[in-house]
């Protein structure tokens, strides 16, 4: 099975609400990254959290990492219709010397106006 599995597969919320997506992985990692993909477009890097970090913020985004549970969460606060997209977590395994990202299957977020 894939490294980096997101949960839920789909999430629908109202504008202004918070959205939380979770990611679980299997192997030890150098870092974990979150990406956004709008329909028919390429991926946009959102945030990177290193294996020795527990929490990171970027604007309305908050990412947590629990290496003991091999899980991460992405919180988007005060969501907007423009946040509608697929969100992927990607892990960079510890055993590789380069950057060999393994992506999960993503969470489809729909923010209703």
């Amino acid at each position: 099975s894939q490294q980096g599995e997101e949960d839920p597969q789909a999430l629908s919320i109202q504008e202004g609400e918070n959205a939380t997506m979770n990611c679980s992985y299997k192997t030890s990692i150098n870092n974990l990254q979150w990406y956004r993909q709008n329909s028919g477009r390429g991926l946009v890097h959102l945030i990177l959290i290193r294996s020795n970090e527990r929490e990171k913020h970027s604007g309305r985004l908050r990412v947590t990492l629990d290496t003991s549970k091999k899980s991460s969460s992405l919180l988007i606060t005060a969501s907007r219709a423009a946040d509608t997209a697929s969100y992927f977590c990607a892990t960079d395994p510890e055993e590789t010397s380069g950057s060999r990202l393994t992506f999960g299957e993503g969470t489809q977020l729909t923010v209703n106006p």
Binding site: Q2, D92, G104
Partner: protein
Amino acid sequence: EAGVAQSPRYKIIEKRQSVAFWCNPISGHATLYWYQQILGQGPKLLIQFQNNGVVDDSQLPKDRFSAERLKGVDSTLKIQPAKLEDSAVYLCASSLDRGPWNEQFFGPGTRLTVL
């Protein structure tokens, strides 16, 4: 700063035909990646170049897929012959260098449909 460029954006071919995709990374980026993204799934790394050398092609189906980055700048990914299951979006990405702390920048992708 110009982003990663890919062409064509869309391609429709018959099975057993050949197809090639082109990618021009961000200027100065040494590392270039090709990913395959099947509908409803996350991207899967096919091949990674460092300058003009291959550093990881373990997930590239080498019986039909090939890629090159001859001058260490732009790159071409080829499929010959194509199968129905190759229908996917092919994403190119680049980063300044290898290593786990280098952000990857993605192009818009080429959507391939094999009939």
